[in-house]
């Protein structure tokens, strides 16, 4: 007996790991909980497959059963808390972040890369109250200062290709030229593109052998924060934090 999902035919999800992550990601995006039926619809996996995987994921505490379905489980919290790069960054960043915040009053963010996005490791609130300051926030690497600062120093050309895939012709060339400028100056900017009304400046974080591991950024109100004025401060913070990371 076949079970048909509501609309499109099921996607080929290659490995079991990909299916598991598709399920976890769908539950994450739906927050806080999702029904099995809805989960099958969103992942475009057969409901029987989803049921079976969910049962295994609940048993191993990656998911937990709720009144209406499932939610992310404590095991993910425990594993996530031990994630290597975020831990290293947070251990080294305290004084540097504090100093940058005291000097500018703007939101300071520490970012690591994931897929075509940047994910926040920590953030301190600044002048703009609506800018979120949670850990684990995702922003696109293509348009944000933190993303460009990372990409400019990233040694994997495929990642840059992947991130810039939506751009066509002139826009793609401009993007690559911009990344070259970022490499020269160690400063990346976003002036109201990623988030309207928000200006951001970022600098890369380099570990030993000058491998880029993330970026540090500040974000403030367009028109009120002057990128030229704050750029040297952000650059200095990036250098200081990179030094602390390499020494740790």
């Amino acid at each position: 007996m076949t079970e048909l999902t509501a609309t499109a035919p099921p996607l080929e999800h290659g490995s079991v790991l990909e299916r598991i992550l598709a399920i976890l990601e769908a539950v994450r995006a739906a927050e806080p909980e999702l029904s099995i039926t809805e989960l099958a619809f969103r992942t475009q996996l057969p409901k029987s497959t989803v049921s079976r995987l969910v049962a295994a994921l609940v048993e191993q505490r990656y998911l937990t059963r709720t009144e209406c379905g499932v939610a992310l489980g404590l095991r993910l919290f425990e594993l996530g808390a031990r994630a290597s790069l975020p831990r290293r960054l947070r251990a080294a960043a305290g004084p540097v972040v504090r100093e940058l915040w005291e000097a500018t009053g703007e939101r300071v963010g520490l970012w690591i890369h994931q897929g075509t996005d940047m994910v926040s490791v920590a953030a301190v609130p600044g002048r703009l109250p609506m800018l979120p300051t949670r850990a684990g926030m995702r922003t696109p690497a293509l348009t944000t200062a933190s993303g460009k600062a990372y990409l400019a120093f990233c040694s994997d050309p495929r990642l840059v290709d992947q991130v810039s895939a939506p751009l066509v012709d002139d826009a793609a060339d401009r993007f690559r030229r911009e990344l070259r400028d970022v490499r020269d100056s160690s400063i990346a900017r976003d002036e109201g593109v990623a988030y309207s009304g928000v200006v951001a400046v970022a600098s890369p974080l380099l570990s030993v052998n000058r491998v880029v591991v993330g970026s540090i950024s500040i974000a403030g109100p367009e028109g009120a924060m002057d990128p030229d004025e704050v750029a040297p401060l952000v650059h200095a913070a990036g250098v200081a934090l990179s030094r602390r990371l390499a020494a740790a």
Binding site: V16, L17, Q60, S84, V213
Partner: protein, 216 residues
């Protein structure tokens, strides 16, 4: 005919968990050490690690492997710890400022205790105390103090001969017990006063949790 390993989804998940949990409290490991701890053949672990790294569940850091950004992102979205941390952090910081002592917030999950938040005071952290750490409650003085508090629902509870002061956090509608604990060792304030301050903090955190629930 079943082929071993990768095709059976339950076995796959068991192996994934074995690899991920092998990191323990260590930050980064090489493949050989990972295989040893996961108790799996090195070739299997190599393959699994490559798949996990491709998906962002493991990161390459300085030539070794560590738990990755994807897990970090998913972990930050887990509702219970997230809500508790958001509500508790400012209150815990206030308690630390007022007393000088290290403050913890933890969840009780069956026989275990999971640390969700730590605000550092003058005392050093006991071994194994870190955010995300899960310990059998019976195994450490900290764990036993938390369980005593959660079971007895005892506000401003003094445990372990005055070494810990704990208070349950009122969390309406949640099936999970949450506790705030203060390391009282070396305190310059009386234990009775610490108990009162800790109880007040637990109440404040409970109110913040309730107001988030009512506004969402």
């Amino acid at each position: 005919m079943r082929t071993a390993g990768w095709t059976d989804s339950v076995t796959v998940l068991d192996r994934l968990t074995a690899v991920l949990e092998a990191f323990g409290d260590e930050e980064e490991l090489g493949i050989t050490e990972l295989a040893r701890r996961a108790n799996l053949p090195k070739s299997t672990v190599s393959r699994i690690a490559a798949d996990l790294a491709r998906q962002g569940c493991l990161d390459h850091v300085d030539g070794k492997l560590g738990l990755g950004a994807k897990l970090f992102e998913l972990g930050n979205a887990v509702e219970g710890p997230r809500a508790l941390r958001e509500a508790a952090l400012p209150v815990m910081a206030g308690l630390r400022d007022a007393t000088g002592q290290t403050v913890y917030a933890a969840l009780v999950d069956g026989p275990d205790v999971v640390i969700v938040c730590i605000v550092r005071g003058r005392s050093s952290l006991p071994r194994g105390a870190a955010i995300g750490a899960r310990r059998a409650a019976a195994a450490t003085p900290f764990g036993r103090a938390i369980i005593e508090c959660a079971t007895a629902k005892d506000a401003g509870h003094v445990a372990d001969g005055g070494a810990w002061v704990t208070s349950p956090i009122p969390w309406a509608g949640s099936e999970v017990d949450a506790v705030v604990a203060l390391d009282a060792v070396g305190a310059e304030i009386s234990v009775d006063r610490l108990a009162l301050d800790t109880w007040a903090a637990a109440m404040a955190i409970g109110r913040r949790l309730a107001s988030v629930r009512s506004s969402s």
